[in-house]
Amino acid sequence: MTEMFAMGNYGAYVWSSFGLTAIVMLACVAQARSRQRTVYQQIETRLKAMESAE
């Protein structure tokens, strides 16, 4: 089992590559979501301002 994860002395390189990939993919999702939230909030604020002005 340990041997399987050791990747024949290349473990540090292989695992850091896969780990970094996971981090970047999560970052992509998080960034897309936060941008979506920002835009939603901007529109909601504007709509509320319009409502109270009417």
Binding site: M4, G8, S17, V24, R35, Q36, V39, Y40, E44
Partner: protein, 248 residues
């Protein structure tokens, strides 16, 4: 067929339809990536030259391929936006840029990690493949900075589209760099004369990863373009109706 495209180009219609594809793309992407990761790390045989270090190919190649795919989507969309003044196309270009930048970063970083044990160096200045990929990262940064610097969306669309198109020269340079010049980088594995130079037990996980990454990227791109469309159309009646409907 054409009516389908015309309909799709209308922002509310796109906003509605794209939402249905995102969960499918995401699930399909994650399944393929899951299979590819397990099979690539544990079931594919070690390479006869590179040993287990070759397994970095399973994240490096999909990332590098997507970094170029994202740029191509960005440049083609920018061109469509410029020529036919289609706003949705500009939204697609704007949505593709940050994703392309992330995958370019990932391709450079995993390539660097792979290079250390194989070439004995993290980075080689002057290497054509490495340098042209790095230039693409700066092109993405330039594109995003230019968009952010111009408040007027129409002007930002035009200026950034020109930048995207000029930078597109770099795409064939990246692709052919390993053939045109001598490079530390190995030659193509999959797209080459005589078919893929890789055995099936190594190939299938790689294909799964490439398609998995692509679906994942597709889901992210749709999500980003939807946000972009919403932000551009914030004054439109359909956005107002939708937001009111959601909050009610």
């Amino acid at each position: 067929m054409w009516t389908f495209f015309h309909k799709l180009a209308s922002p509310p219609h796109f906003y509605d339809i794209s939402a249905r594809f995102i969960p499918w793309f995401a699930v399909l992407g994650l399944l393929l990536i899951g299979y590819g990761t397990v099979a690539g790390l544990f079931f594919a045989p070690a390479d006869y030259q590179q040993g287990d270090a070759f397994r970095i190919i399973y994240v490096h190649v999909p990332a590098a391929y997507l970094s170029m795919m994202a740029y191509s989507i960005m440049a083609v969309s920018a061109a469509i936006g410029l020529i036919w003044r289609m706003k949705l196309a500009h939204a697609v270009a704007a949505g593709a840029a940050p994703l392309g930048a992330w995958f370019t970063f990932l391709a450079l970083a995993t390539g660097s990690i792979w290079g250390r044990p194989m070439w004995g160096t993290w980075w080689e200045w002057g290497d054509p493949r490495l340098t042209s990929e790095l230039i693409m990262l700066f092109l993405y940064f330039g594109y995003m900075a230019l968009r952010a610097a111009i408040d007027d969306t129409t002007k930002a669309d035009k200026a950034s589209a020109v930048l995207a198109l000029v930078g597109a020269v770099n795409i064939p340079i990246i692709h052919f760099s390993v053939e045109w010049w001598s490079s530390l980088h190995q030659g193509p594995t999959l797209v080459r004369e005589g078919g893929p130079a890789i055995e099936p037990a190594m190939l299938y996980p790689l294909l799964a990863m490439i398609f998995g990454f692509t679906f994942f990227f597709g889901a992210l791109l749709l999500a980003r373009v939807r946000t972009e469309v919403l932000s551009r159309e914030h004054r439109a009646r359909w956005v107002r109706n939708m937001m009111m409907g959601e909050s009610a």
